[in-house]
């Protein structure tokens, strides 16, 4: 460590000084290869239940028979409410919950984001546990409209039926909360915030009725009338947080083991469990985690350490609503068994099949390797910037000779071996590099502020202007730096060193919070490791600047919008919504971590080092 860190070893041997760029490339390559290996049987594991108290599928479910008639009745009522206003709907729902003998409360909320207003009223009912002391609760959520804005007709009817059904049982030891929100994006967030008394503005009412600590939440998203084939589980939370794997496993084991319903994830409707499909599932999961937006009403619960998932029936098959109800019943019986908060199983995992996963210990190295590549280059550039200029010629001439002679020095008890060579370190001029890197980091606040405070209608235009500025600005910044400061080669090296050091640090910290985002940003930023000023080679600079501009944050966002055939304005609106309401951090990473590093890389590319020999002469 001592030798490497001081750069003594590096400085002593010119071959070692050539090594770091290859080493950092190797890091990236290994990082990517590592990720591709994960779906193999040798690297992933089968899922298993860690928490013994859950006992999934060990109880007989009784939700059948006459409850089907109740369900049809509620279904009829809910269908009749389609298109009615939020208040009318809630008046009717309140009647139903009260008829089942539950305490009912409502909560109004209003959010503002990107110049638009999101408002509505949540309604919820609490079933007090006959055998509990109201210190713990489980939530069953049915949003009136699901994330695709479809009317969740069977889902809400099922919530009503289950509320009536659960009330009949005396075995609950945790309170059960039935929550119906008017939408899937703002409503659940307002409710969870208010449940924990952290609502940001007075426009979100506090909850008049509360129960104990939330232990888990299950969301039903069942927007059609017919029977279904399989169950699709959505589990991604905001900012890439995930629910405890035990909750997921419980539902999978109940649905497929007890009820014989197939389970899929990440919209992989026909999963054949081969390498390709597993990889695809994992990558889809990573992309969703990296974007960090809410994928369903359950997402809002996860930041509060409430494990939550959404269950979506899909396809045409022979499973009916009662089967869905039994899955929920059995899941709730399992959650009811919990003695403490779900903590046994994994919180960091990548799922590649309903029965296969990799845990953090196995996948984290890949993102860390990508992040470490930046740190290696930063250290290398630091050492290189301190190497005396005249040294290179001297080293070249002495390369053939044997190693430098050592001198033994004895004084009293102390003995030291000294090489007979002067270990000079060139003085580093730190001010300009620090100022450039700090300045670009600070500039990142600008797009972050602009894109989160522009109204919806202007977002696309502002983004267009920003993209154009983004392509020309680095050139002019670079030219003006050359014009006013005339940086030396050493200063360029230091600028790059600091920028890469920061990027590496940010990404490795981020990898512990949101692995996927760190990995994706790391990959897109990887070419920045190899960008350096190339004066006198205009063709190469043009080619590289094209490459760099293709990998710019703005270009990547545009490419993503085209690839998934989305609307740019809607994507930006969603991002602003996430920032204002969900507390999503993806933009911070894009504009304050990735973009500054990209900007510095681009500035470097157009850079031109001052001729130092003539400068020193001028000083003399």
């Amino acid at each position: 460590m001592a030798l490497l860190s001081s750069g003594v070893l590096l400085k002593r041997d010119p071959r070692l000084l050539k090594l770091p760029p290859y080493l950092s490339f190797l890091c990236i390559a290994v990082g990517i290869a590592w990720l591709l290996l994960l779906p193999l049987n040798d690297y992933s594991r089968r899922t298993y239940i860690s928490e013994n108290a859950l006992l999934p599928g060990q109880v007989h479910t009784y939700f059948a028979g006459s409850d089907q008639h109740v369900f049809r009745g509620f279904k009829h009522e809910v269908d009749a409410l389609e298109g009615k206003s939020n208040t009318e709907v809630n008046d009717k729902l309140e009647e139903f919950f009260k008829a089942a003998g539950l305490k009912v409360a409502r909560q109004k909320f209003e959010y503002k984001s990107a110049g638009e207003v999101y408002q509505g009223e949540n309604i919820y009912a609490i079933l007090h546990a006959p055998r509990g002391d109201a210190t713990e609760a489980i939530v069953l959520v049915g949003a009136w409209k699901n994330v695709e804005e479809e009317f969740n007709r069977s889902g809400v009817a099922l919530v009503l039926t289950l509320a009536r059904y659960f009330k009949r049982w005396s075995l609950w030891s945790k309170d059960i909360i039935f929550l119906v929100t008017p939408d899937s994006r703002a409503g659940p967030q307002a409710w969870v915030d208010a449940y924990h008394d952290t609502q940001s503005s007075p426009a979100i009412q506090p909850l008049p009725l509360k129960s104990g600590a939330l232990q888990g939440a299950v969301v039903i998203d069942y927007p059609f009338n017919h029977r279904f084939e399989s169950l699709h589980i959505v589990y991604d939370g905001i900012n890439g947080q995930l629910p405890n794997l035990d909750l997921f496993n419980t539902v999978v084991s109940i649905a497929s083991g007890q009820m014989g319903i197939g389970v899929t994830l990440q919209r992989m409707w026909n999963h054949k469990d081969d390498y390709k499909e597993r990889l695809q599932t994992m990558l889809r999961g990573m992309l969703k985690q990296g974007l960090g937006h809410a994928s369903g009403p359950h997402s809002s619960f996860i930041p509060y350490h409430v494990d939550a998932i959404t269950l979506q029936p899909y396809g045409e098959g022979w499973q009916d609503e009662m089967a869905m109800g039994r899955v929920i019943e059995s899941t709730f019986r399992s959650l009811n068994n919990l003695l403490e908060h779900l903590h046994q199983s994994f919180f960091f995992y990548l799922l590649m099949h309903s029965g296969r996963f990799v845990s953090i210990g196995t996948y984290l190295p890949s993102a860390m390797l990508v992040a470490i590549n930046f740190t290696i280059m930063a250290i290398y550039l630091w050492v290189k910037s301190g190497t005396p200029i005249s040294k290179s010629t001297k080293v070249a001439s002495t390369m053939g000779e044997k190693s430098t002679p050592l001198e033994l020095v004895k004084e009293g008890d102390a003995i030291a071996i000294l090489p007979e060579e002067i270990t000079g370190v060139r003085e580093r001029e730190l001010f300009l590099p620090l100022a450039v890197v700090a300045g670009t980091q600070f500039l990142g606040v600008l797009p972050l502020y602009i894109f989160n405070h522009t109204t919806h209608s202007m977002l696309s235009i502002v983004f267009g202007i920003f993209t154009i500025l983004n392509t020309v600005l680095p050139y002019f910044i670079s030219k003006s730096i050359i014009e006013y400061f005339g940086p030396t080669t050493q200063q360029y090296q230091l600028i790059k060193s600091f920028s890469l050091l920061l990027l590496g640090m940010f990404l490795s910290s981020l990898a512990t919070l949101n692995f996927s985002l760190a990995f994706l940003v790391g990959l897109f930023a990887a070419p920045l490791t190899y960008i350096q000023p190339l004066p006198g080679r205009p063709i190469l600079v043009t080619v590289l600047s094209l490459l760099i501009n293709v990998l710019a944050p703005t270009a990547v966002i545009l490419a993503g919008v085209f690839a998934w055939e989305l609307n740019l304005g809607e994507v930006l609106k969603e991002a602003a919504f996430g920032w204002d309401i969900w507390g999503m951090n993806t933009q911070v990473v894009v504009w304050c971590v990735w973009w500054p590093a990209w900007l510095v890389g681009n500035i470097l590319l157009y850079g031109k080092a001052r001729d130092e020999s003539s400068a020193t002469k001028a000083v003399k």
Binding site: A2, G7, Q241, F347, A416, I417, L418, V425, T512, L513
Partner: protein, 417 residues
Amino acid sequence: MSIDRRKAALFCTAAAVRLLLFTAFPGLPDLLTGRVEISTPVTSFKRLQEGLFLYNHNVSPYDGGVYHQAPLLLPLFSLLPNSLDYPIFTYIIYILVDLLSADALMKIADSGEARSSKLYTSPRKDKKWGSLEIAAAFLFNPFTIATCIGRPTSVFTSCAILHAVAKAVAGSSLTSIFALTFAAYLSMYPILLLPPLLLLCFDRRRSESSINFFLGCASAVGGSTYALLQMSYIITGSWEFLSSTYGVHLLLPDLTPNVGLWWYFFIEMFDSFRNFFLGVFWLHLSSYVGGLTIRLRRQPLFVVTILLGIFAIFKPYPSISDTSLFLAMLPLYQHVFPLMRYTFLTTSTVLYATLLGPAFYYLWVYAGSGNANFFYAITLVWSLGLSVLVGDILFAVLRDEWEVERPEMKGKEIRQI
């Protein structure tokens, strides 16, 4: 005159940056006040508010066991308007304290004591930063700014220590000793700085004999301590504050996480060993004083600097405020920086720990997906980074001294065998 103008510009910019952060981000002060890296049980601004509330309602501020800070802070803060209604006055006080610290630091830098003391002159004394650069490095250090915004009372201690040193290098030993006693009164550990500080004063004494000098100093320490404690007694009406303030430093009853090494160790420990290890930890902390003072007799200011670094790592309730004080003194030794060997390693380690610390704390406390070991591991890395820095600067200064004795070794590399 031009220096003064530049100094005024620097101070105005520093004050403006702080004021901007205070006012432009209204949530920031409270956010930082709640961070364990900034506020410890013995310096927290929130706890000060609690003590202040009790004091203003004629209840002993130490009732309830929340407030562990010195009693004299209470009348000072109760003179200010309520910090919830008129926070601007509190902000101004904290900004002024930072500027006062920077002013003291500039006086220390201007004295040139770091490069040539009475008994030792560094061969590299021509290489130096101006006092303005040193003050700027202190005022624009992100740790200093974060501390200022987080408003822990440790800034008063830092300011008192810097003034004690500044007065000592200016030769006014009585003022210096009074400033140090005040620092010690606020947070106890600065009393360990007394030996090097006395030597610093001793090197500048005018004519009196050394016995007279030390007798005078001892009576000054005793007198000012007595005065401060007696005033505290009059304010609070009982001696209860002794056990609630210094007792907390000594016995560590509050194990709130912080960036130091004590809390986790004492959480894990069986109670029967607690007293023994309290003794060991305190002995360890104070054992550096004697050794370093003797070994570096010729550079007492450096002893102060390095002790501040050691305290920032090993004291019972450290925070980044202590680190920022150490980092403020460090640039005084800019002339030996080229002799340091691990600058980049320490910088990156400290920066990594700065970023990973809050991330792991979040995983532990908020997300619930991590546990206490996550945060403790990162405080170990943080302490490792600082220890390497302390060891490295010590090496550099010793080497600098050594090169005076052995000029032929200048520029040669040292290897341990």
